[in-house]
């Protein structure tokens, strides 16, 4: 199976000061730059999940794409298995990109409606020059629970959860060591969410995969992530072990985010909503000259 080719204890991915700016034109036609990701540094270890949480527009997806080199970072460095990716030539980069896969929120949009489950998975397997593509693709589909006659069905014959399983089979078929999961369960129902989350955990244990798990759903993050990075306006404002972030959040934005969770218990949730509506939520200002400070071992807070 896919074994991480780095010694234990070294990160699989190390991003340093990754910045991504986009040039946009405003109504008057004058150009300005928007910094979607601002000097972000993080590490992902083999077999571990790093969650990236934050509000929409905070830069989570852009960060994921910059790490995968789907969008080249404006500045900063991304090392994968010890190799700097940002300076690679396209052909060299492609070899690494096979080891880094991505799955998206909407599995219907990421599958070709005219191809069967098996054909969907065969495509990347063939491109990766596997010796027995059909066996490999069938194996990948088996791993996600798509078996027998099902593999010859078209996407429309599958439910949303099953389609996401096919997308996962595609990703694991080419023996990656990292999968970026961009809101992989946000479009799914609660019980299906739980099934996909369990599947991702099982695959991680069996195949030694690392995940970067981008989500705005804190409940799912707590279920799956070893480490959590909280993003706000393009910056990581807090980073640490998931239990530490949820148990003793330090940054005001993290506190605000966790404080807004509504638990499925009427007595608790009602009081919480009343408290929240009484608060005035001013936008938080980040010190532009600030940076992450280690407040305890492995727990970083933007100051």
């Amino acid at each position: 199976m896919s074994e991480a080719e780095v010694p234990l204890g070294l990160p699989l991915v190390r991003a340093t000061d990754v910045t991504k700016t986009f040039r946009v034109r405003d109504r008057g036609g004058s150009a300005r730059h928007i910094t979607a990701v601002d000097r972000v540094s993080l590490e992902v270890f083999p077999g571990e999940t790093l969650a990236v949480v934050g509000e929409s527009g905070s830069g989570k997806s852009t960060l994921g794409r910059a790490i995968l080199q789907l969008d080249t970072p404006t500045s900063g460095s991304v090392e994968f298995e010890g190799t700097e990716l940002t300076t690679l030539r396209p052909r060299e980069r492609r070899a690494f990109q096979r080891k880094m896969q991505i799955i998206f929120q909407d599995p219907y949009a990421s599958l070709n409606p005219g191809r069967t489950a098996l054909q969907q998975v065969l495509e990347p397997v063939q491109l990766a020059h596997e010796s027995d593509p059909v066996a490999r693709a069938t194996w990948a589909l088996e791993q996600v629970g798509i078996t027998g006659e099902q593999v010859h069905k078209l996407p429309r014959a599958f439910s949303g959860g099953q389609r996401q399983r096919i997308a996962i089979a595609r990703a694991i078929s080419v023996r990656p060591s990292l999968i970026v999961c961009d809101e992989p369960v946000s479009a799914l129902d609660m019980s299906i969410q739980a099934q996909i989350t369990v599947l991702l955990r099982e695959l991680q244990a069996e195949l030694g995969l690392s995940y970067i798990f981008i989500s705005h759903d804190l409940a799912v993050v707590r279920e799956i992530a070893h480490q959590t990075a909280v993003m706000y306006r393009g910056r990581i404002v807090e980073l640490g072990a998931t239990e530490t972030i949820f148990g003793s959040p330090q940054h005001p934005y993290t506190k605000r985010l966790l404080g807004a969770i509504l638990v499925p218990d009427p007595a608790v949730a009602r009081v919480r909503l009343q408290q929240l509506s009484a608060q005035v939520s001013e936008p938080l200002e980040l010190d532009p000259a600030g940076g992450l400070v280690e407040v305890s071992r492995g727990h970083f807070v933007y100051r």
Binding site: S191, E223, L262, V263, V268, R272, L276, S277
Partner: protein, 264 residues
Amino acid sequence: MSNNLLRIQGLNVSITNRSGQTVQILRDVSVSAQDGGILGIVGESGSGKTMLLRSIMRILPENATQGWGAIDFDGRDVREDFARSRLPISMVFQDPLTSFNPLRRIGGHLTEVIKRFQGVRGKAAHELAVQALTQVEIPEPARVLGQFPHELSGGMRQRAMIAMALLVQPKLLLADEPTTALDATIQAQILALLAKLRQEEGLTVMLVTHDLGVVAALCDRMLVMKDGVVVEEGDVEAVFASPQHPYTRQLLDATPNVMGGAHE
């Protein structure tokens, strides 16, 4: 016992697909929305909860047919003229970006609704638009009226859509997953706004969601749907405390307890 603003009995909806097959989407659905209450409708996708709202709004797809046993609105039998008369009901959707014309400023959207539903135009309409945005707690309303939908954040866009829905002067607001695309802090703000509108304006709300935390925080009564059928209905506290239908129990069990102790 409180009065029902809306009471529907025996609603059936079916859709005929291109190959001529008829699929029943809603089967003998009965639903009551208490005046000034917030009713939560939960269920998985495909359970028919969105179709229920769309039936009430009369915005079903063209290939759908519907039949009603009884519909009462505000104490009146409206079955006869439901299709023709315009009831004071409006609706907000999950993604406000797709509900706005992207090339039109927020002010243009609001003043059109004001003109159509309140017969007011010009400076007076502008004043009403400013008031509408103020009511949904949008800061700097005059500036926001001059902005395009994409220039607003997700939370502000949802507020603007609620403002637009309120300009219809509805008694009943239908909300289809209004906070699903928003992160926790913004979700709480939008829910707090709905609670305020109920409190201060006496607005009745029917809210479709898959998030039981939202139901727990905001709703008085809830309806659980599965495969086009209502499987459970009751007061929110009662249903959470002792769910009767196996499917309701399954839904409550599937909800991850985010603030609980360490998971296994």
